[in-house]
């Protein structure tokens, strides 16, 4: 991903409302924004679409004020995270199901991935936000503190608790699976 390309596209949009430039920018960043939105919203696809659409509209309206002090992707993610939090406050949770066919993976890996996705989706919102941004999308605690408007220490403590909750959930799932395999009641 070349930041200069982002700058060139943004410049074209700002100077002449260049639709082709916007479409290129949209295609470049939307797959990761959509993936992030689905995880943060518990795989509710309609809400994730709303979040991505609103992110682009808000970003385009404020594009002139973007100062390139962070990567464009980080800035867009910040707008997306805020929209996801608004949606979670406004609507009842509408958890969907993590997709099972998006990547070709070995069956064992697939089971592990699905378990992990489900465990992430079941986390409380605050834990989920931090673990998705840090452990899945690779943001630093400083980035997360800015994105979520919390301090760095809170980001770290939330991540620690989120990981513990994930381990507990995955261990519980494995125990249940083992019991079922051996004919025991979960």
């Amino acid at each position: 991903m070349n930041a200069d390309d982002d700058r060139a596209l943004v410049t074209a949009i700002l100077s002449s409302g260049d639709e082709a430039a916007f479409r290129a920018l949209f295609r470049r960043h939307s797959p990761s924004l959509y993936s992030l939105a689905r995880r943060l919203l518990g795989w509710a696809s309609a809400d994730a679409e709303d979040a991505v659409q609103e992110t682009w509209i808000r970003a385009s309206e404020r594009l002139e004020s973007f100062r390139w002090q962070s990567a464009l992707r980080t800035w867009l993610s910040g707008i997306l995270v805020n929209r996801c939090r608004e949606l979670r406050r406004r609507v009842a949770p509408a958890f969907g199901t993590p997709p099972e066919d998006e990547e070709a993976v070995e069956p064992a890996d697939d089971v592990l991935r699905m378990d992990l996705e489900r465990a992430i989706a079941a986390l409380p919102d605050g834990y989920r936000d931090v673990v998705v941004l840090h452990d899945v999308d690779g943001y630093t605690h400083d980035d997360i503190a800015r994105l979520l408007d919390i301090d760095t220490g809170t980001s770290k403590s939330q991540l620690s608790r989120a990981r513990q909750a994930l381990r507990a959930a995955l261990a519980k799932g494995r125990t249940g699976e083992s019991r079922r395999t051996h004919g025991e009641r979960p």
Binding site: I13, S16, G17, D18, E19, A20, F22, R23, F26, R27, S30, P31, S32, L33, Y34, S35, R38, S45, E49, V52, Q53, W56, I57, S60, E61, P99, E102, E103, V105, D109, L112, R113, L116, E117, D135, V136, D137, K156, S157, L159, S160, R163, Q164, R167
Partner: protein, 199 residues
């Protein structure tokens, strides 16, 4: 000791997180919807075809003007308005199904507005056809007892199309941008926009 020191993920956990997909393609029409919204806000401008007017474009405008004239005739008299085809125009076509909905204002002077809008579409080469539909419909169905044909009244049926336009647009975003200016919306009606699936 920091939380990070205390709670670093194991290699297996790290690998599991790294295996999660970080991208998933959004629905195909999302891009067009966003573009339409940004055009409506004046943030984006539709790409224009530059250069001199070609023979194809001339034919196109002439044909569209003819379609607009036919639309006028059809709108006023209820006759069918056939749309001339323009060779080489590969732009997708869309149907705008005009529904009345609960709050629709059936004023008597709307026809002139619709006709003016259709003429403007025709002048821009965007109109293929358009008609007002009468209130009666004939319903044909093939059931256990064979073919049944009955006349049904559509009066009061909110979702039943009361008229239609067929338009040409570069993509869904442009079709939405065209449809949002239709006077039908101003009068409280609804428009179901359907891309034509050329087979």
């Amino acid at each position: 000791m920091t939380h990070d020191d205390f709670d670093e993920p194991t290699e297996t956990e790290r690998a599991a997180f790294q295996a999660l997909p970080r991208e998933s393609p959004p629905p195909e029409d999302l891009e067009d919807r966003v573009v339409a919204a940004l055009r409506a806000r004046g943030i984006l401008r539709a790409a224009r075809v530059g250069g001199r007017r070609t023979m194809r474009a001339t034919l196109f405008v002439a044909a569209s003007a003819a379609a607009a004239a036919l639309f006028m005739a059809g709108l006023v008299t209820g006759r069918h308005a056939a749309a001339p085809e323009v060779l080489g125009d590969t732009r997708p076509q869309f149907v705008l199904l005009l529904q009345e909905g609960k709050g629709f204002d059936r004023g008597t002077d709307h026809l002139a507005e619709y006709a003016a809008w259709a003429r403007a579409l025709g002048a821009r080469g965007e109109l293929v056809a358009g008609e007002k539909l009468k209130d009666d419909a004939v319903l044909l169905s093939n059931g256990d007892t064979g073919l049944t044909i009955r006349t049904v009244a559509v009066e009061g049926a909110e979702d039943t199309p009361r008229g239609y336009f067929v338009i040409r647009a570069r993509d869904l975003a442009e079709a939405i941008a065209i449809a949002r200016d239709c006077p039908h919306l101003k009068h409280g009606g609804r428009i179901a926009l359907r891309p034509i699936d050329k087979v």
